[in-house]
């Protein structure tokens, strides 16, 4: 349970941090520090179990059918990482409190920071591969947000985007790799994975899995050739860099490689990929670091180099080297975090990070300078500091490596010494270039010591470097031991952490590296002093430029090309393709299996319906014919077709449908009539032979599509109607249970408001949204210039004739209103048992209202009848939702209905199902939405 707390704490803190006021630096820092210390304390409390080599697990079933669960698993290695993440996190929080300026919105910073910490913990504590990938991607996401924290700067945005694209692309590869691994092992559980090393290494899919997983790890750890995102990520605030690039983000890659070391290493493929990539990063990073002029840039390349070192160590297929790798993970985190913080202090106090401008800062900040010197010495691998120990282990390994190629084995010791020299040179540059020499003039700010507590984290980390460097066995020894034993298990080799091993080969190599590095730095002085932004002897390949080009090609040029090739902005071709595709999709099964009429004989043709349909078909054809030039005629004809549809519903015993169709016909007709006014005058049609010829192919094609669609639907309809219905349909259930369980006899209505109530809730929500959308669109509506003039009928109308024009119908309409309202209530009330219901009732009332508008005009109607459609919509939606939620009070699922049997004094027995209130909500919403649409359109005529 504590595990869940450890993981949940940062996320909870993140949410809490987001709600603090913008300038609450102290409160934020307390919160974040509390979270980090809490995490550290929880991790610390696990130490006894870890020391005994226990593995803690927590599991929660998530998708048992797929063998996926939410699983946390902590062994010594994960414990070591969790302590590192929370411990360094704590120090960075203190540092950030003083680093961030009062103008920066700190809630965002600390919120992202804690979320990032939580994601890190999520990765190291995941007991399941899929979950690990999930948290892995979360770290990419939050690091993106952190790197881009100062989003007003283009460099921050670009750096953040680059980091996100590279690491999340790698994350996708890792996901694929995890799926392959899961397939090989047969389970995504980490325990199962760690237990099946033999199987993985011997499997045919070993190589693809290895490459995919390593792609994820290399991108995350900024290994060659994906290293270029790391220097660009230096646009982040320094606390972020100190955290991401020392203890957190970039360590994830090597964490993963180390985690998989026991099951995937030991093959030549492993050594080739991990070893070579590590070597490249190691040399390239160290070499490039010498020539950086930006302090953080120098540290960034040095980070690439040190991560390369860890990768190489893991790639050597030797258990002792793996121990060195784990050790170096810890060491690098301490000295690199302190160096980043020192660089931040220098930047903060002097206003620049450019080594060319900084000089002689020792006078201004002696304490910081001393701290930075010790940390840099640890980075260079000077004896009595922690960096020395892991470097010695690397040198020792380089002498005994047993790789497949003898030349490489022999070359490794020279490469190691060369790397050592480079490290010494850039560390010297960091120290000498910044703290010594003539005091710098013309800095943006006069440098001074930072606040006491801003230095505190650096002091603590440097102290750790020293203590570990002098007394390794009793300080870091037990912690390292826990991590290594958990990671390597039975393979864990015997190793000794001591400063003095005698006058050995590695020591000689160290001395050569120190002397050589110093000499190299002296030699390069002349070049460095010139201050050119160039790395000598470096191929002019810029990762960033390649990245940009790939991005532009993918997201812009190819996308544009595809769009130009396949896309069109014209509606007609799009619709034509859509309909043609639907047509083909319908024809496909018919072509495959044929279409047969069913066995039932056709029932007798009734002349009345046949006649009605003859009229209907003519109406439809007429509407299609006239819709271009005679809109009103087309509208009337379409209405005629609608009435025939309505008659068909009556004929086939669907009274609810017929009622609804009839009312919708009315409302639609009114709606379209209101719209007609704003359409342009049709230019009279002039028949020309050329025009007709040009249009002919298009028309023939459309006619063919239309005829085929119609014929297809007719054929399907006929085929369906000549077949008997299968015996056990869901309708049978609805029929049998409508009254006993739904409390209503009108099955259609019971389905709508009870059995399928949730669907109906969604549908009325759509209706409400449409109403509001129409309203919003019409508020900004600007009619075309030629439509703004009132029509001639309106212009020639005097005030008196306006009142008299429709006098008799108007009075009848007014008199009808109470009757229609009553009818609406009647339809609503009886809906559950007889044809009617909320939809029909709502449409009836809306029709009644719109009749008043037609009879008296908008102003007349509104001075007498204040309809507030938006409120009707709101009340309706709330009522329907509340009815659904109400069933939760009685511990029933959403929208469970209940029928109350009341005995009222005058009315007698009353069955009141809860679905009635739902229907009332539907009613209110339909009134509101329909009213809103019609009234909004009607208002256009009287707008100023």
């Amino acid at each position: 349970m504590l595990l869940v707390l450890l993981l949940g704490l940062p996320f909870a803190g993140s949410i809490a941090a987001a709600f603090f006021p913008t300038n609450a630096r102290n409160a934020e820092a307390w919160l974040a520090a509390g979270v980090a210390v809490g995490g550290l304390a929880i991790a610390g409390s696990f130490y006894p179990q870890m020391a005994y080599g226990q593995v803690l697990r927590f599991e929660l079933e998530w998708l048992p059918a797929f063998g996926l669960s939410f699983a946390l698993r902590m062994d010594g290695f994960a414990w070591m990482f969790a302590s590192l993440v929370t411990g360094i996190g704590f120090l960075v929080v203190i540092y950030a409190r003083y680093y961030m300026s009062p103008a920066d919105p700190v809630p965002r910073f600390f919120s992202f920071f804690l979320a990032f910490m939580g994601s890190m913990l999520g990765v190291v504590l995941s007991g399941n591969l899929i979950q690990l990938v999930f948290f892995w991607e979360l770290t990419s996401l939050f690091s993106f947000l952190l790197i881009g924290y100062w989003h007003q700067s283009a460099a921050a945005r670009d750096g953040a985007r680059m980091a996100l694209v590279i690491t999340s692309a790698g994350g996708l590869c890792l996901f694929a790799g995890a799926l392959v691994l899961g397939r090989i092992v047969g389970s995504y559980e980490l325990d199962a994975l760690l237990a099946s090393g033999e199987r993985i290494r011997g499997h045919a899919l070993y190589l693809p899995a290895l490459i995919l997983v390593l792609l994820g790890a290399f991108t995350k750890s900024a290994q060659f050739p994906f290293h270029f995102w790391l220097p660009h990520a230096m646009a982040a605030p320094t606390p972020v860099s100190a955290y991401l690039h020392s203890a957190a983000m970039v360590k994830l890659g090597v964490f993963l490689i180390a985690r998989l070391w026991p099951v995937m290493s030991g093959t030549d493929a492993w050594m080739w990929t991990v070893g070579i990539v590590g070597l490249c990063s190691l040399l390239l990073g160290a070499y490039a670091a010498i020539f950086q002029h930006d302090l953080k840039g120098l540290l960034a390349y040095s980070t690439i180099s040190h991560l390369g070192l860890i990768t190489v160590l893991l790639g050597l297929n030797s258990a002792l080297a793996a121990v060195a790798a784990v050790f170096h993970i810890l060491n690098h985190a301490t000295f690199k975090a302190s160096l980043f913080m020192a660089a931040g202090v220098i930047d903060h106090e002097s206003g620049t990070r450019d080594i060319r401008r900084l000089n002689g800062l020792y006078r201004f900040m002696p304490i910081t300078a001393t701290l930075a010197m010790v940390a840099a010495a640890a980075m260079a691998g000077v004896p009595l500091l922690n960096g020395f120990l892991s470097k010695e282990m690397f040198f020792a390994e380089s002498l005994t490596v047993e790789g497949p190629v003898e030349t490489l084995n022999r070359a490794l010791r020279f490469i190691a010494v060369l790397w050592g020299m480079f490290s010494v040179a850039y560390s010297l540059r960091f120290i000498h270039g910044v703290f010594f020499g003539q005091p710098a003039a013309g800095l943006p700010r006069t440098p001074k010591e930072p606040p006491r507590w801003m230095r505190f984290p650096i002091e603590l980390l440097v102290l750790a470097c020293l203590v570990v460097g002098i007394l390794p066995a009793i300080t870091i020894g037990p912690i390292l031991d826990v991590g290594v034993r958990a990671l390597l298990g039975a393979e864990a080799p015997a190793y000794s952490l001591a400063v003095w091993h005698g006058f050995t080969g590695p020591l000689v190599m160290s001395l050569i590296a120190l002397a050589g590095g110093a000499a190299l730095y002296v030699l390069l002085q002349g070049f460095l002093r010139r201050g050119v932004e160039k790395i000598p002897l470096f191929p002019p390949v810029d990762g960033r430029r390649i990245f940009d080009r790939v991005l532009v090609a993918l997201s812009w040029r190819w996308a544009r090309g595809l769009d130009a090739l396949l896309g069109t902005r014209r509606l007609q071709p799009q619709l034509r393709w859509a309909i043609a595709a639907a047509l083909l999709a319908g024809l496909w099964p018919i072509w495959q299996r044929g279409l047969q009429w069913g066995p039932l004989p056709s029932s007798e043709i009734h002349p009345a319906l046949a006649l009605a349909w003859a009229v209907g078909a003519v109406c439809a054809l007429g509407a299609a014919w006239q819709a271009k030039f005679h809109r009103l005629v087309a509208l009337i004809l379409a209405g005629g077709a609608g009435l025939v549809v309505c008659l068909t519903f009556v004929w086939f015993s669907a009274p609810d449908l017929a009622l609804t169709q009839l009312l919708v016909e009315i409302v639609t007709a009114v709606l379209l009539l209101l719209g007609l006014r704003w359409l342009p005058k049709r230019v009279p049609f002039v028949w020309t032979a050329a025009g007709a010829r040009a249009a002919l192919p298009r028309r023939v094609r459309d006619l063919a599509i239309a005829a085929a669609s119609g014929a297809g639907l007719a054929a399907i309809a006929y085929a369906v109607m000549t077949r008997p219905l299968p015996d056990n349909t869901i309708s049978r259930y609805f029929m049998e249970h409508a009254y006993p369980e739904g409390g209503g006899t009108n099955v259609v209505n019971v389905i709508l408001v009870d059995f399928r109530g949730f669907d109906t809730l969604g549908e009325i929500a759509v209706l409400g949204v449409v109403g509001l959308a129409v309203f919003a669109l019409l508020r900004r509506f600007r009619p075309a210039p030629e439509s703004t003039e009132p029509p001639p009928q309106q212009k020639e109308q005097s005030a008196a004739s306006a009142a008299e024009d429709l006098l008799v119908p108007a009075i009848i309409m007014r008199l009808m209103f109470p009757a229609m309202a009553l009818l609406a209530v009647y339809l609503l009330l009886r809906g559950h048992n007889l044809p009617g219901g909320g939809f029909v009732a709502g449409l009836t009332l809306a029709t009644g209202v719109i009749l008043q508008y037609m009879a008296g005009g908008t102003r007349w109607a509104e001075s007498r009848l204040a309809i507030r459609p938006v409120r009707w919509i709101g009340v309706g939606l709330l009522l329907a939702a509340a009815t659904g939620l109400g069933s939760w009070l009685f511990a029933h699922p959403f929208l469970t209905s209940h029928t109350a049997h009341l005995h009222l004094p005058l009315l007698g027995e009353l069955h009141l199902p809860s679905a009635f209130f739902f229907d009332l909500g539907v009613f209110s919403l339909v009134v509101g939405a329909t009213g809103l649409v019609l009234i909004a359109l009607a208002h256009q005529s009287i707008r100023d």
Binding site: K628, P655, L657, P680, A706, A714, L725, S731
Partner: protein
């Protein structure tokens, strides 16, 4: 009888599709309206419609299911009718706004060049 209804559906759908493919916005509105008639009818007849009674059951059990028309497609179509009204309204308003904005009632917002 079935043939008549099937042919009716076909005619409505054909006219609808033809109009939907036309260049003027009002034609498209009317076309969608006709097409939704056809589709609603098609869904409706997917249930049992031959000579059953309206699906209003008695209060005394048991229900003789075979003697009623199928209520489920009816419930589906009922909401479909209302929703198609809503989409027609939305489409109409969008078209009016587009016409106000572009000055033409062509579906592409500009007159064809020919």
């Amino acid at each position: 009888m079935e043939l008549i209804v099937a042919l009716g559906i076909g005619v409505l759908a054909g006219c609808g599709v033809w109009l939907v493919l036309r260049p003027r916005t009002f034609q498209v509105v009317i076309g969608l309206s006709l097409f939704s008639y056809a589709v609603n009818l098609l869904i409706f007849i997917m249930g049992w419609v031959r000579g059953g009674r309206a699906p209003i059951v008695g209060t005394s059990a048991p229900v003789d299911v075979a003697s009623f028309t199928d209520p489920l497609p009816q419930a589906l179509v009922l909401t479909a009718i209302v929703i198609s009204f809503a989409t027609t309204a939305l489409l109409l308003v969008v078209l009016l706004a587009a016409r106000g904005l572009t000055g033409t009632d062509h579906v592409d917002g500009r007159e064809p060049e020919e």
